[in-house]
Assembly symmetry: C2
Homo-oligomer: 268 residues x 2
């Protein structure tokens, strides 16, 4: 009976329009990652989700439309296995935060970090990415795993544009009297390519992506000024219209021998 | 009855010698964080731990001698509250990893990251720190929260020395034929001061430390060469003998106006 009910549930979000609509409302009824990776319908909302919850299968903190199984969903689910995946990696952090953290009280810092993390998460989820790591005033997101999006380069850039817009709105409303003109904005770096996805320590179940793709995305982010999105040539070539008017910048990045050409979207 | 048994359990690890001994074996029977923060004996090993486990209270992935309550233990445990704490923050990452990640296959990268994460965690736990964040080829550890160590500066430096030793042993055994002389080693940065500890996003229960202290530790780490431990003046002044022979280096760090003087322990 459970299985029949699951099948019924499963049909609903699979029509494309409703899936997108549901996702944007942040309330898919079956786990979108388990469906995309394994074609397995795992209820994450509604009464059918209750028995699963009893076994610890709940909505993921990384994206509320996926579940805790598929947070670590590999094609063959087993401990210490890794899979190769084609993905787009996005890094974002608050520019000027180190400077700021020496000047204002810690409670205000907490407020800024909370605003930033929440605005970024909403933007990333709206485009089917997951917030894989948060690190104080920064974060790392993965697109195309476990929720599959063929247009993951495009999705990541749209998420970055939303991050810039929503963070500028939120941070702009804060009052930093006495701080002078220290700019407070967000820098974003995006790169697409092959990554290795898995759990890379035996002591914690904490899946992530590693590889040159991840490091390049991180390096790009470190070079982005407040309000900028730096996009690698690989991501740009898949993204089409979104970057057609973007400027080009040649960057010398730590640990990378040749200069890297990036496209620059300046949002304010 | 339960309470009486807890009292009995509680007595045992509280004699200092046995507490240290048990900790070094990684098998404290009550949560050391809950004890230090709230004087509450929470069983994490043995039959008394079973009923707690049924309610989701288990050993933490950040340190096996603390529990999932005190992973987020604040003096007043409540959602979205932050506490100020005096702590030592340690950052470590693999030097040359970006360079390496462009040259070797991803499966080998996974192996290196796993070795690094596991060796670091063992070293950090042995000195009562927690592995608060892992980020691919890097990590962040906190000392003096939730397990209280008055000598947290000292504990962090000793952990760093162990990290360098154990990683050098492990990474040295790997065979990177054809890679030339790209150095593979670990860089560590350590700084002590006030931090704000809490959960800074409404969407995930993911406690961490933020503030200028954290950012300076991270910046120090970014300047450490393979095999080096860079220690701030604040940490060094509390650590005594361990750094008495260390060299001094003046650093210009991103986001920090004045040059920063650091002590340098070179381990190989």
């Amino acid at each position: 009976m459970l299985f029949t009910s699951l099948k019924t549930e499963q049909m609903q979000p699979m029509t494309e329009a409703s899936a997108i609509q549901q996702n944007h409302r942040g309330d898919a009824r079956i786990c979108r990652g388990c469906w995309d990776q394994m074609h397995m319908p795992i209820p994450i909302r509604g009464p059918l989700a209750l028995p699963f919850r009893a076994f610890g299968i709940t909505r993921s903190k990384m994206n509320p439309n996926i579940c805790t199984i598929c947070e670590r969903s590999f094609r063959y689910v087993k401990k210490q296995s890794h899979v190769a995946a084609s993905a787009t990696i996005l890094f974002a952090d608050i520019r000027g935060f180190t400077h700021l953290s020496e000047r204002i009280e810690r409670m205000r810092l907490s407020e800024i970090v909370s605003l930033f993390q929440d605005r970024c998460a909403q933007a990333i989820w709206a485009h089917d990415g997951i917030v894989n790591k948060t690190m104080g005033d920064g974060l790392m997101a993965i697109f195309n795993f476990p929720i599959i999006r063929k247009d993951h380069a495009d999705a990541a850039i749209r998420a970055a544009l939303d991050i810039q817009k929503h963070c500028a709105d939120a941070l702009g409303r804060l009052d930093f009297a006495g701080l002078g003109d220290a700019p407070l904005g967000v820098g974003v770096g995006i790169h697409s390519g092959e990554v290795e996805i898995g759990e890379f320590s035996t002591f914690r179940s904490d899946f992530t992506a590693i590889g040159g793709t991840v490091n390049l995305a991180s390096r790009l982010e470190s070079q982005a000024e407040a309000g900028e999105i730096l996009i690698s040539a690989e991501t740009a070539s898949e993204a089409g219209d979104l970057v057609s008017n973007a400027a080009t910048r040649l960057l010398s990045l730590k640990g990378i021998d040749l200069p890297v050409e990036a496209r620059v979207l300046a949002t304010h």
